[in-house]
Symmetry: C2
Subunit: 351 residues, 2 copies
């Protein structure tokens, strides 16, 4: 895997609206799957019986699975959170379940994930310092249990997964540093910054990234979870982030807003009804090579599923191509000037 | 265009759930667009401004447009039908419109259609003989007006459209013969059998096809509108039909039922939850080469749009490939044995 990398989100074993061959054509090297969703439907045992998530969904490149922690916290009806784990009700049918660090490992190993995330304790924003401390303490306790369960758990054939620890600590820089140090004592194959992009100001988010980064081992991947906008990718890379994931390019696209080199474009707007230009005039993606804004707008107006499909292809291309350009600029030692140009053009279009 | 041919239906300027490049890869030579839908949204003037439907939707092969007659009859709130035309309310927003033979020609020429259909008078089933006679008389009167409006109407640049007459007459064989003779007196570039597949028994449908076929000029295309199942394609070709269109492969696919060489397969059924076979074991389509029934079933269960997409790709491949096999069998003089094998296998699976 080349880094820095952006990981398209494939919640339910599919990156919504596109095909696995599209992702390959877009040079996606790794995609994300959601433990919570796949556990509930179709179930990790079923996927394991089918040979694991790679085989089930026809994807032979890398897969990172999240721990389920964020989803039980944000999606499920939360019933009880204890030192043991989280008891919750399914958002699908109200059935009762309990996630523990051990079960999260069991599920992710059954899926055959390449990058397994430790089951962490999420924290709302804003949160008191004492709650943030509690989240760190519990995250560490769970991280230890994850390490053990992961190390001792069975692997799918040909599976050689890595386990990532997740830094919590709210918007308290010292707590984040403490959390990272304690995670490093346990030892992981990669480190993630979690619990950000949950409503805190952007400045606070970058402060937390800056607090966490210097302590992270340079030879291991550093993953900023759930981030972000194209600007965030650049800002994150500047601060040393290697891995990103976000639903923004895909979710926004399905609703008719795409990302371009000149900022966001709300293609379903009436102003594009007769616009014969592609979504992004400097883009080489399938959508921009074949279709006009007028046509894509018509598809959205008419409720045709080709609209979300073409918009998703474009926005994923934009994100993945931006990361490609970032990697090339880093290689060439021109990341500073590249990012200045990129951000200037993007922000001009946004304003 | 090679015949016999099946035309995928692209109602609103898109064959639902798939890309134009998919249609090319499936060797679709001609697709259908709906005059009624495109007139209402985005409007034929807009499409004309964009250079016509081919350019608007990025499709450089043939397009046949229907006349709008069937849709105003079946979809719109019908307000008044007179000798002049049909006044109706849009199914989208209730706005009032009137279709006349002249307007139908104007719209289809503005779209840049390659095969323009005459505006015909549709008939419910069952219908009295006197109503069927009236439908024939009015269809003929409108066909004359269509011929004139079509011949005198403006063309898009590089457009060289053909006009098809439509045979009506309900389930009365002599009326259908009369209608065809009167259409031939006017003279058209192709002839279509309309007003079937509207609830009449299959036997009555084939009787009407058999009544109409012998009188049709052998050197001009013969089109059986809105038909049908894979069996119908074979039965139609046996009776001399050159062109077919039907929403069945695409609409059923979007709802989780696909066509295979062994009959219909309801892939969303629980019985396929762990089925590692492709949708059709003898199929070479994209879906069958890459995905299992278990995965496609999961996509439908989870409401993921990749499900309808993959199912549509498969069923269109099955229809278009079946037509390809039919053409090859005809060429090789083996259509009789080919169709016997095909129908036997298909019907065994259906039973």
């Amino acid at each position: 895997m080349q880094t820095p990398v952006f990981m398209p989100v494939g919640t339910q074993g599919t990156v919504k609206a596109v095909r696995q061959s599209d992702l390959k054509n877009l040079n996606a090297e790794i995609i994300l799957g959601n433990t919570y969703h796949l556990y509930l439907r179709p179930g990790h045992q079923l996927i394991q019986e089918m040979g694991g998530l790679h085989k089930f969904m026809g994807w032979d490149r890398l897969i990172l699975t999240d721990s389920g922690g964020f989803q039980v916290w944000s999606l499920a009806a939360l019933n009880k959170i204890t030192e043991e784990g989280v008891r919750f009700q399914s958002h699908l049918n109200g059935s009762y379940h309990e996630f523990t660090p051990e079960l999260s490992m069991e599920i992710q190993l059954a899926l055959g994930s390449d990058c397994v995330m430790a089951f962490d304790w999420c924290l709302q924003y804003p949160a008191e310092r004492s709650d943030a401390q509690l989240a760190v303490d519990r995250t560490i306790a769970w991280a230890k249990r994850c390490r053990t369960a992961f190390d001792e758990g069975p692997r799918l054939p040909d599976s050689d997964p890595a386990l990532f620890g997740i830094v919590q600590g709210g918007v308290y820089a010292d707590l984040r540093k403490e959390c990272l140090e304690r995670l490093k004592e346990i030892g992981f194959e990669g480190y993630a910054i979690g619990g950000l992009s949950v409503g805190e100001p952007k400045t606070a988010m970058w402060e937390m990234v800056e607090a966490g980064m210097p302590g992270m081992p340079e030879d291991q991947p550093r993953y900023l979870m759930g981030v972000g906008t194209p600007e965030d990718l650049v800002e994150g890379v500047r601060r040393g982030v290697d891995m990103f994931d976000c639903v923004m390019p895909t979710r926004n696209a399905r609703k008719g807003t795409v990302f371009t080199s000149q900022g966001r474009l709300v293609v379903k707007n009436a102003t594009y009804a007769r616009d014969q230009r592609p979504l992004d005039e400097s883009c080489k993606c399938y959508t921009c090579r074949h279709y006009t804004r007028a046509y894509v707008r018509h598809l959205f107006q008419a409720g045709e599923s080709l609209g979300p499909q073409l918009a998703t292809l474009h926005s994923l291309h934009f994100y993945l191509n931006t990361m490609q350009e970032i990697r090339e600029a880093i290689e060439a030692g021109t990341f500073g000037s590249w990012s200045q140009n990129f951000l200037e053009t993007f922000r001009q279009g946004e304003s």
